[in-house]
């Protein structure tokens, strides 16, 4: 269709008009090839401004719109929508940035006006070459894959299943419940885990929409948001793997506890008196707190074991150890009323709801908090000596103890790296899976349709884990409930007549969007995978593959305008 272009120069109040002679630019624009109407207006983004475009588009039969105003990063969606309402394809709208890149940086009126003309000229030239594009949608496979059967995975699976979608829940071990199943009671309410976890597990097991795969792992994932295909392989060899199709994935692979053997100064593994917080949970569950057959009189907790430690490459705070220590110290006080319980700490971080109160309760229960990061443990008779500087006294002390509890931190599970590799998910420097945005997209990942729940993303307690699991489930439900996913319109396309099948576009694409058609030997682009970066188009010598909306003829037209003006 022969271009019929409307050009709109925005004053942006005085932001543009004070420096750029908008009338001169408008007069100039009217002379450009294909331009049917050129106007200037105070605020093009205002209601009346947008109405101008709509009205002209209808009455003059425009098929291209050029707006010269602010950065397209600001108002391109506005003007695309306005033009669309006027019957112009939103992808046949082009903007000239005469504010940020002209009036605001070039104070000389003559120079700024001249440059504005060049930018408008280039925009008109590009607009003449713009093709209409369609925003398309792909159908979504109803169903989700949840990887990991701990609390995060259980909660996410339940929410998605309750919303009516099939869920495939894959767990490496032979039981559901994850790390929480190893705990005795939880903070800050000291509620026994046994009172709620089995019910949660049972709910999942009996849910008609949930298929549980125990002793299994995900060995392969292909596809994209809305249409993933995963292979679930049993860890035991000989059994056949399952192939499942889902629209969204929730990763909830959890954490490992730090191995305190990597801090040899604590003598863990050498002295039976030295245990981890996780081991103490089991002892608290069994009720047997004796060491070498004797009831401890002196109990010491050591915090930050494997956390906040640059030397070990674990610079982060594990966020739960302070509360766990406060909880266990109270439970030990209850179990052993005659024992003295001392917690050695660097800082006490009992943040969050009921956190500080819980710390208060621990101290009121008789737990002594002493500030100092324990440096060494050695034997003295039947006891061990905790050597530490009490930094508030500025004095080094040898604190004899019968039981020493190391508050071990959390670390990423090695299996999370495998999942990250399968999905090309980035991880942060500490090895935890990386969220798409720390504030606005905390459960999303860099891969559309893949969400994070629980400690695979970073250390957190049970309430935070459950909250994140519910957020991940809700996010995963967006594509599932919509039933369709939007596709980038400005994707790469291949002209099969021109394509010689060299496969360079296939090689260079980071998203595996193009693939060689085995029958025809030419490249084809899966539009759902294409992110529109255009690397493929440069690689193609005959331009058989091109990035729509940024095609060679469009860009060369801009070049010619800018050099020619």
């Amino acid at each position: 269709m022969k271009p019929r272009i409307g050009v709109y120069i925005c004053h942006c109040g005085t932001n543009v008009a004070a420096t750029v002679d908008v009338e001169a630019v408008t007069e100039f624009a009217a002379t450009l090839p294909g331009v049917v109407i050129a106007r200037h207006y105070t605020y093009m983004c205002s209601e009346p401004g947008q109405a101008l475009i709509k009205e002209d588009a209808r009455t003059l039969g425009l098929n291209r719109v050029v707006v010269a105003s602010c950065s397209p990063r600001m108002h391109e969606p506005t003007f695309r929508a306005a033009s669309h309402e006027g019957g112009v394809n939103p992808y046949q709208v082009e903007m000239a940035n005469i504010r940020e890149q002209c009036s605001w940086v070039h104070p000389d009126r003559h120079e700024a006006t001249d440059k504005a003309k060049a930018l408008v000229y280039a925009a008109v030239m590009k607009a003449a070459h713009l093709e209409p594009l369609e925003e398309r949608e792909a159908p979504v496979t109803p169903g989700a894959l949840v990887i990991g059967g701990g609390v995060a995975g259980l909660v996410a699976a339940l929410d998605i299943a309750d919303a009516g979608f099939p869920v495939h829940l894959v767990e490496r071990s032979d039981r559901l419940g994850g790390r929480v199943a190893e705990l005795n009671r939880t903070f800050p309410d000291l509620e026994p885990v046994a009172e709620w976890l089995p019910a949660l597990v049972d709910q999942v097991r009996r849910h008609p929409n949930i298929t549980v795969y125990l002793n299994s792992r995900v060995t392969d994932i292909t596809g994209f948001v809305g249409n993933f295909e995963a292979r679930v392989g049993p860890i035991e060899a000989g059994l056949a793997p399952a192939q499942i199709q889902v629209g969204a994935i929730v990763i909830a692979t959890g954490y490992n506890v730090f191995d305190p053997r990597l801090k040899p100064e604590f003598g863990y593994g050498i002295y039976p008196q030295v245990v981890t917080t996780l081991e103490l949970e089991q002892r608290l569950s069994s009720g047997d707190l004796t060491v070498n057959g004797k009831t401890p009189k002196e109990v010491v907790f050591i915090k930050c074991v494997g956390s906040r430690d640059q030397q070990l490459g674990r610079p982060y705070c594990s966020r739960v150890c302070c509360m766990i220590s406060a909880k266990q110290a109270q439970l030990v006080r209850q179990a052993l009323p005659d024992a003295r319980v001392t917690v050695f700490y660097m800082d006490v971080r009992t943040f969050g709801k009921r956190g500080e109160e819980f710390y208060d309760e621990a101290r009121r229960a008789g737990v002594r908090y002493r500030r100092g990061n324990v440096s060494e443990i050695y034997r003295r008779g039947e006891r061990v000596v905790v050597r530490v500087e009490d930094t508030l006294l500025a004095r080094t002390v040898e604190h004899e103890a019968d039981l020493v509890v190391l508050a071990v931190g959390m670390e990423p599970r090695p299996e999370a790296a495998d999942i990250a590799a399968l999905l090309k998910l980035p991880r942060s420097a500490d090895g935890f899976l990386l969220e798409a945005h720390p504030k606005l997209r905390p459960v999303d990942t860099a891969v559309d349709g893949v969400f994070l729940a629980g400690c695979c993303q970073g250390p957190k307690d049970i309430p935070d884990t459950v909250a994140q699991a519910k957020a991940a489930a809700a996010s995963a439900l967006i594509p599932l409930m919509r039933g369709v996913v939007p596709m980038e319109a400005a994707t790469a396309v291949v002209d099969p007549e021109l394509c010689a099948g060299c496969g360079m576009c296939v090689e260079i694409c980071p998203y595996s969007a193009p693939a060689l058609d085995p029958l025809w030997g030419v490249s084809r682009v899966n539009a759902v995978l294409c992110k529109g970066c255009g690397a493929c188009a440069v690689t193609c010598p005959s331009k058989a593959i091109r990035l729509q909306h940024f095609t060679p003829d469009q860009i060369l037209a801009q070049v010619e305008a800018l050099v020619g003006w």
Binding site: R73, W104, V563
Partner: protein, 142 residues
């Protein structure tokens, strides 16, 4: 200096996510720089076709600036690494073919480096003023 009132024309191919946004930031920060640069917005430096650069130079542009995200920061994972190789190859060809490769500049400028964008344009404008006009501007037989 051979200024003589010569005002070089610089065509800039900027990636949408870093340098184009950096140029916007220079604007919102009201950092002044010479008006000699004219920007073409692309999604990624990985989509800057050397043919565009050649076309600009043969048409008579005095300089071509290619601006993208710093290594490791590409919105599309690796477009800037690909661009780096292509620009290196192109500049070598220009050099070998007796054309002036120093008219082509590649710069990594992030979205937060408005000042660096303005500085780069100022430097490039000054450099090209001293170098003089692109001989292709008058060359009709190309």
């Amino acid at each position: 200096m051979s200024d003589n009132g010569f005002e070089p024309k610089i065509v800039a191919f900027l990636c949408n996510w870093c340098t184009y946004t950096g140029a916007d930031l220079a604007g919102t920060s009201r950092i002044q720089y010479p008006p000699n640069v004219r920007i073409i917005r692309l999604m990624c430096t990985g989509s800057v076709d050397p043919t565009y650069v050649l076309k600009a130079l043969l048409d008579g542009a005095d300089g071509v600036l290619v601006g993208g995200c710093h290594p490791g920061d590409c919105h599309y994972q690796s477009g800037n690494y690909k661009a780096r190789r292509r620009i290196i190859a192109l500049k070598e060809i220009l050099k070998q073919a007796g054309l002036e490769e120093d008219r082509v500049w590649l710069r990594w400028i992030s979205a937060s480096e408005g000042q660096r964008f303005a500085d780069t344009v100022s430097q490039m404008t000054q450099y090209l003023k001293e170098k003089g006009p692109n001989p292709m501007k008058k060359e009709w037989a190309v």
